[in-house]
Every structure is written in C-alpha cells, then in structure tokens.
C-alpha cells in the first residue's frame, strides 16, 4: 500500500515538473469536477425567456444565453456529464475489448491469432467515423453509456495489436523459456510480467480513445443523428449551426463558441496530460525535454 502511494505521488511529481503536463492534469481535474460536482452546485433552469435570447456574456449569464434565453453556462456544466460519461465509457469498453482480444491473440497463437489479426486489419482499414455514425443511427441511443458502448465497438483494434505484440516479444524472453523448461505455469509468469509492460499502453490508449470518442460523439450530434438533448455540447453546436441560425446572429457568438471552446480545452488538456504520462513511463523522453 505504501509503495502504491509513493508511486502515485512520484508520478504526480513528474507531471507537475513538466508545465504542459501539469496544465493538462489541472484541465482534466477541472472537467471531471465540472461533470461530477458541477450539476449539484449549479442548478439547470431550462425555462425559456424569449426576450433574453442570444445575450452576449454578462454578469448574470457569464457565457450569455441560447436561442430561448437560457443560460449557456448552466447547459455547458450539465452537458459535461454526458460528454464525460461518453468519453469514459468508450475508453473503458474499448480497453476491455482490446485487452481481452489482444491477450487472446497473443497467447493462443496459430490460426486464432491469424484470424484475429485479419479482423483487426479490417477494423483498421474501414473508415471509422461513417461506421460510428451508422451505428449511432442503428442503435436507439438513449443514454451516454450506450453511446459509449457503440463508439467502443470501433476503437479497440490499435491497442489490441500492441498488446499482442508485447506478449509475443515477451514469450521469446529467456526467463519464460526457462520457466517452460522447468515445467512451471507460464501463464502465471506471463501475466505477472505482462501487466507492467502493457499498463503504459493502456493508460495512453485510455486517453486517446476518450479523445476520439469526444470528437466522434460531437460530430455525430452535429449531424443530428442521435435524439435531441439540448444541453449536450454537440447538440448545442447542431442547434446553433443548423436549427436556430445562431451562426448568423452576431450577439449569439457565445452560443456557438462556448461549447466549441469547452471541447477544444478538454481535448487539449487530455493531449497535454497524455504527453505527461508518456514521459512518466518513458524516462528517455524526460531527459530529452
């Protein structure tokens, strides 16, 4: 237990020494807080007030108001839960799939391995966004977790391939061979050896899959392919661009820009944070920078 804590503190130390990574960490923590505690602190009032529509940012509405005079900041906070859940569940399901399939391919070898590799090839060559959009239209998406599941179907192959090759290279190591000769249970050793090796991949991929999920889900919502939920960031963009004509109204600029900037900031935080994690696992990078 003690070592675990020390590890975590050490990692945080590494990240905080790198300014960019620290910014990323702060950003990620901020958005997580926004998604979890935010809706509890900031109430959502969706009562329309037409006179106050398309207000620029002011003291009473710090990000202005939407086409029906409702506070954009409140919507942004309440919509962040959806985005976070989509990103998190996509990453979780994606990683789960990748680990299972990657280990299966790596350990079983032979025909199973070959078949899985061919399947991965297909997944990697077929353009992802159209598939995700078709999936979104196909499954009736009612909640963000289902959305995440749907997006996860197309986000595991890269990681699965990496895990498989890790296992393959591990198998060639001497101590495994020795264990095999001695008749010890190889899978136990492999698992113990494997985990530390693939954890960096999993962490980095968690962030990358989450980022991909955010982009894809916002894109799908911008196209209007999933049910309406006004506070959703992607849906806010859809409403601003295609439904309410906000892009033509100068005072409504905030309605368009707020969800955009939120998405960009979240993405950027994840990129910076991911960079930090990369360095943490790969000391050579640390030395170079």
């Amino acid at each position: 237990m003690k070592t675990l804590w020390r590890n975590i503190i050490e990692s945080l130390g590494i990240i905080s020494r790198n300014r960019r990574a620290f910014f990323g960490l702060l950003g990620v923590v901020f958005f997580i807080l926004m998604a979890t505690a935010g809706p509890l602190i900031i109430p959502l009032n969706m009562t329309a007030d037409y006179v106050d529509r398309f207000q620029p940012p002011s003291l009473s509405h710090i990000l202005g108001t939407d086409y029906a005079g409702r506070d954009i900041f409140q919507q942004l906070v309440h919509g962040s839960t959806d985005i976070m859940l989509i990103a998190f569940s996509t990453a979780l399901f994606g990683i789960l799939l990748a680990v299972i399939i990657g280990i299966l391919a790596g350990l079983s070898g032979g025909r199973v391995d070959m078949l899985i590799m061919r399947v991965i090839d297909v997944f990697l060559t077929v353009p992802a966004f159209p598939v995700m959009a078709i999936f979104a239209a196909l499954f009736r998406i009612r909640d963000p977790v289902t959305f995440g599941l749907v997006l996860a179907i197309w986000s595991w192959p890269g990681l699965a391939r990496a895990i498989r090759s890790q296992i393959l290279s591990l198998r060639k190591r001497e101590f495994i061979e020795a264990a095999e000769i001695m008749g010890m249970s190889t899978s136990h050793i492999m698992f113990k050896e494997l985990m530390p090796n693939i954890i960096p991949y999993i962490t980095i991929n968690f962030i990358n899959i989450a980022r991909g999920a955010i982009t894809a889900s916002v894109g799908i919502m911008l196209l209007g392919l999933v049910p309406l939920s006004v506070t959703n960031w992607g849906m806010m963009l859809n409403l601003a661009t295609f439904q309410t004509g906000a892009i033509y109204v100068p005072s409504a600029l905030s309605y368009l820009l707020s969800p955009m900037i939120a998405i960009i900031l979240f993405q950027y935080s994840l990129i910076c944070f991911g960079g930090g994690i990369d360095e943490m696992f790969d000391p050579r990078l640390r030395v170079q920078s």
């Binding site: 353009p127 959009a133 196909l138 982009t215 950027y268 990129i271």
Partner: protein, 332 residues
C-alpha cells in the same frame, strides 16, 4: 519475377478480402436499422396515391428492389451479383442509381481533399525543414504549440469557425455550395474562379488541420537525415547550402512522408462527412451524412463501399511507395 510480385499479390488478396468483409458487414448492419422501410414507403404511397395498403406495399417493394420476406442470404447473393455487374442499387431518397450520385459527388471531394493536402504538405514540409536545419529558432516552439492545438480541434470545428468568421462576419467567402447560381458550369474562367472561391474555406479547414502534423513529421524525418553521413560529406565538399537543403536534406527526408500522404488522402475522404455538411459542399461526405440521416440503405452501402475502397487503395499505395523508395523495406 515471381518472387518480386508475390508480396504485392498477397497484399492485394488481403485488400480484396478486407473489402469483401467490410461489404458483408455493412450489408448486415444496414439491414438491422430500426423501422420497416417497406412499410414506411407503403404508407407514404398509400397516402399520396390513394391505393390500398397491399398495392402500395407491392409498389414499395418494386421501387426499393427489396423484399423483407426474402431471407437475408438471398438478398445478399442478389446484391453481390448486382455489384459484380457494377450495379450499386438505387438510392431510396433520390430515386437514381447510387453510382450516378457517386460520379457526381466524388470529383468535388477529390478536388477539395487533394488541394488541401498539397497545400498543407508543401507548407508543412517547408516549416519542418526550416526547424530541423536551423534548430534554435522561434519557429520551433510556435509550430509545436500550433500542432498540438490543431490536434485538439477536430476539423469540423475549424470549419465552423471559418464559416462564422470569414463567411458570416467578414463576408469574404461564400457560405455554402460548390459554385454560385449566376455562373455557368463548364470550361470557362469565371466558373473555375468561382469554384475555387467556393472551395476556399473547405480547403482552408483541412489545410489548417494538417499543416501542424506535416511540419512535425518533416522535422523528425529531417533531423534523422541530418545525422546521416552524406550530409556531412556534402558539407565537407563545400556544396552550397541551398543545394544541401533541397537536394540532400529535403529530398531524402520527404520520402517517408509521401507514404503518409497517401494514407492521409484515404482518411480525409472517409472523414469528409462533417466538413462537407458544415459547408453544404456537395461531395461524398455530404451525401453520406444525408444518407444516414434519411436511412437511405443503398446509398449508405454504396458510399461505405467507396470510402472503404479509397482507404484500402490509399494503404496499398503507401505500401508500394514505401517499398519502392526505401530498398531496405520490402513489402512484407
């Protein structure tokens, strides 16, 4: 001879299998979409033309060339047979062959994608070479920051921003479409200028997105080339800097990037749905978005096939180029 072609043949075979699997997959996928399409059409025909439901259903089946009572395997066989003779089916919403839509839409997408890739490639390569050669320049952190920011901004958000600022606010560029109403399509200067004018924002959206990654890739590639002996030799021989940069440094460093160019082309065509929808640009992506929104089965299938084939061709091209330009790497 046989040995030389063998890897390529294998690659080709895998590509064909991939296309086939992707095709089967979408065929099944599209048929799982909710809502009985024949029923929907029958109801519409019934309301419009005042015929009985059964009649309307027969008409709908004929119009859709699709009968839900026929087992999916039979339908699949029929579809594949049609495909072999170049028949991609008829679009349900546009009521014309899918191939006609593709032929009309593809040139616009290819036009915009190629143009933006070339521009971003040229600028990216220039930036990358400069950074690698000069090492300590202010360009370095600027480009790195720019690259990581554009990485965070999806291309359709760039597109939206461009639309709002340059289209709506400043009115420098047209908002939608591929050309304006009062030009005459054909080989004439005004039309071509108009087409360029309308393509400017979509091209800019992709270009802004891609410059950063080209610059970083070029920087990495050029830095490793700088470590090679022949650069040192060239310097030792007292060759002009310009010659070293162009002939030795850029020339060699560009090669690995060319393969990425092919892959980027495939990605951009497959992912053009959002940018083209934002600009109302009548390319492949625009029709793809429309087709999914209106559940136009045959059009979805046709466009999906197209994007997959483009992607696979791009990958294949990348592989071939790679093995050609770098003799050390053979097609595996």
């Amino acid at each position: 001879m046989k040995l030389m072609f063998h890897p390529l043949v294998k690659k080709l075979a895998i590509s064909v299998v991939t296309i086939f699997v992707a095709l089967t997959f979408t065929f099944i996928l599209v048929r799982q979409m909710p809502g009985d399409i024949v029923h929907t059409w029958a109801m519409n025909i019934m309301q419009q033309q005042g015929v009985t439901y059964n009649e309307a259903r027969e008409m709908a089946k004929a119009m859709l060339n699709y009968d839900p009572n026929v087992p999916i395997a039979v339908q699949y066989f029929k579809y594949m047979k049609g495909l072999l003779s170049g028949n991609l089916g008829t679009s349900l919403t546009y009521r014309i062959p899918v191939s006609v839509i593709i032929v009309q839409a593809l040139p616009w997408t290819v036009f915009v994608c190629t143009l933006s890739l070339i521009i971003s490639f040229v600028i990216g390569v220039l930036l990358g070479t400069t950074i690698a050669w000069k090492r300590k320049t202010i360009l370095e952190p600027v480009v790195t920051l720019y690259a990581s920011i554009t990485q965070a901004v999806p291309d359709f958000l760039i597109a939206l921003l461009l639309l709002v600022f340059f289209g709506v606010s400043l009115r420098w560029f047209p908002l939608r479409g591929a050309y304006s109403a009062d030009t005459v399509p054909g080989f004439n200067i005004p039309f071509m200028l108009d087409v360029l004018y309308h393509a400017a924002l979509p091209v800019l959206a992709y270009t802004l997105q891609y410059i950063g990654s080209w610059a970083l890739a070029m920087k990495a590639s050029a830095t490793s080339v700088l470590g090679e002996d022949y650069i040192a030799v060239a310097e030792a021989r007292g060759l002009k800097q310009k010659r070293i940069i162009v002939r030795y440094l850029a020339g060699n460093a560009i090669l690995p990037l060319v393969t990425s160019l092919a892959i980027a082309f495939g990605t951009i065509v497959g992912g053009s749905m959002l940018v083209e929808t934002v600009f109302g640009y009548p390319g492949i992506g625009y029709f793809f978005g429309q087709a999914i929104a209106t559940r136009d089965y045959s059009l979805i299938q046709g466009l999906f096939l197209l994007t997959t084939v483009v992607m696979i061709l791009a990958n294949l091209t990348a592989d071939i180029i790679y093995s050609k330009i770098d003799p050390r790497i053979k097609l595996e």
